[in-house]
Amino acid sequence: MLRFVVFRLARALITIVGCATLAFFVLRMAGDPIIALLPADAPPEVMERYRTLWGLDRPLYEQYVRYLISLAQGDFGQSLVDGRDALGVVLERAGATLILGGVVIALALLIGVPAGTFAALRRGTPADHATMTVAIFGYAMPNFFLGLLLILLFSMQLRLLPSSGYGSAAHLVMPALTLGTAMAAKLARFVRTSVLDVLGQPFVRAARGKRLPELAVILRHVFPNAAIPVITFLGFEIGLLIGGAVVTENVFGWPGIGNLLVLSVARRDLAVVQTIVMAIAATMVLANLVVDLAYGWIDPRVRLAGGPREG
């Protein structure tokens, strides 16, 4: 188990460094941030001064090595806009994104798991078809369009909810629905398939054969076995969730990291954009690491087999 954990950790670290490298070179090749940041008529001496100040006059490889070293020391650079610590600027916004993300995942689980299980148990019936039809509508719906429709309905027609902002539960309803609908829908479809797979297994027939109440069969025998693909799915889904959060936060003016990203990209605030990319990559890698480790915890067979890829 220890070797497995160490191997996974090393791999995660390499992936994060890879993401940092990619972000660094792509953004540096994208153009001179000085030109973008200073007014076009700034005197050359001023430009030179800032270039030296931020180390942009050094060769690219030297900048890259310096960047990696300061990353290792926990220094993410300074915001080119106001000179504040880039990590601080990003962390300040993390709370809002985490609240939104947490509510969305909870919403998706609360709707998706029961809906998918229900459809699987009623397989082939009109109830199954109806559930799956709703699900496919939910996940084919682009989130920015759903967001606009919700604003049109709840803010402009019914005047029930604020169309943007942050601070109360009412502000959270529409962003959470916008982001959660697609995830709940996908989860429902996925849970349905996983539960169907398990329902066909001999041990489920055995449990039913010994007259275990249906609820106990599902909770004790079906769910634990259907959980593994569902957890993998959730790990993958984090990426789409983050991408979706960028859109949703901007539609609803939610002051999270996605909002900051679009703002910083428009301001060409290199350090902040880089830090956001790093933060997102780290979250994704961490989420998948947790998923990998959760396998071993849920399914002892994985531990014996030595790794989930083979399992």
Partner: protein, 293 residues
């Protein structure tokens, strides 16, 4: 191709039978998608106005059914441009970008997947490392940053949108090629001394094509949504060209007094992705016999 193999003999004798096995919903989705593609392809011929034709005397006209005139069936936008015509042209741009991006991601991912499975060793490790990195960076985030810093061009947009999903093709291809390499038909080809490129291109590729095509179909809605999302932020397709996402993004500011600018383009995006999802699901179920339904 695989469908024919799986179909019972009488399906071959009676070709309409195979058509009849397409569920009504999927058939409807195919017709709808075909219609969108047809209208988009014929934009030059059927659009009543050009996509950039302005008529400042007819700004913000509502659609005909909401009190507007028959001159502008779906109303006009803030510059007096015909929404219906712009939807035809916008759909054309969106579909072309999505097709180009899918082709790019498909080629890149499949090639790298083949390379990883053929050479194994450190090459395989390197490819899988790239796959991990791509999987850890949501494409929307990367594309936003690159487009904003690098400036915008259509080829760049297609490449960036295409990067979304290449790692899925690479993973899938690698897995399928690895298992194909162990299979009987590849072994026998080796024994009779067939050249390696021939085994990979003429024998393994056709055998795994079904799975790859299903993956491409399932990816396509996400690709359209990604392009529209970028254009929605004003970073995708640039004016005077238009795309469905750009119209939706522009219309967002006028939701209160001119809802039609945003809503109609949104409906077209939604119908397109919905049709693709329905078709993709059906294809996957048809081609994957292990799925119970």
């Amino acid at each position: 191709m695989k469908v024919e193999i799986e179909a019972p003999l009488d399906a071959l004798r009676n070709p309409t039978r195979r058509l009849r096995t397409i569920p009504a919903v999927v058939l409807a989705a195919m017709i709808l998608l075909g219609l969108v593609i047809l209208l988009a392809a014929c934009a030059d011929v059927i659009a009543p106005y050009g996509f950039a034709d302005q008529n400042l005397d007819a700004r913000l006209q509502p659609p005909w059914f909401a009190g507007g005139s028959a001159d502008y069936l779906l109303g006009t936008d803030t510059l007096g441009r015909d929404v219906l015509s712009r939807i035809f042209y916008g759909a054309r741009t969106s579909i072309l970008v999505a097709l180009g991006a899918t082709a790019f991601g498909f080629l890149l991912g499949t090639t790298l997947g083949f390379v990883a499975a053929r050479f194994r060793g450190w090459i395989e490790e390197a490819v899988m490392m790239l796959v991990d990195i791509q999987a850890a960076l949501p494409t929307l985030v990367l594309a936003l940053a690159v487009l904003a810093f690098l400036g915008n061009s259509l080829p760049l947009l297609i490449i960036l949108v295409g990067l979304d999903g290449w790692e899925r093709y690479a993973r899938l291809t690698r897995g399928m090629v690895l298992s194909a390499k162990e299979s009987g038909y590849v072994m026998s080809m080796r024994i009779v001394g067939a050249p390696e490129w021939r085994i990979y291109l003429r024998h393994i590729l056709p055998n795994i094509a079904g799975g790859l095509i299903v993956q491409a179909t399932l990816n396509f809605p996400g690709t359209i949504i990604l392009e529209t999302a970028l254009s929605f932020f004003g970073l995708g397709v640039q004016p005077p060209m238009t795309s469905l996402g750009q119209m939706l993004g522009n219309g967002r500011a006028y939701l209160i007094n001119a809802w039609w600018i945003a809503i109609f383009s949104g409906v077209v995006i939604f119908l397109t992705t919905l049709s693709m999802c329905l078709i993709g699901d059906w294809l996957r179920d048809r081609l994957d016999p292990t799925l119970t339904r």
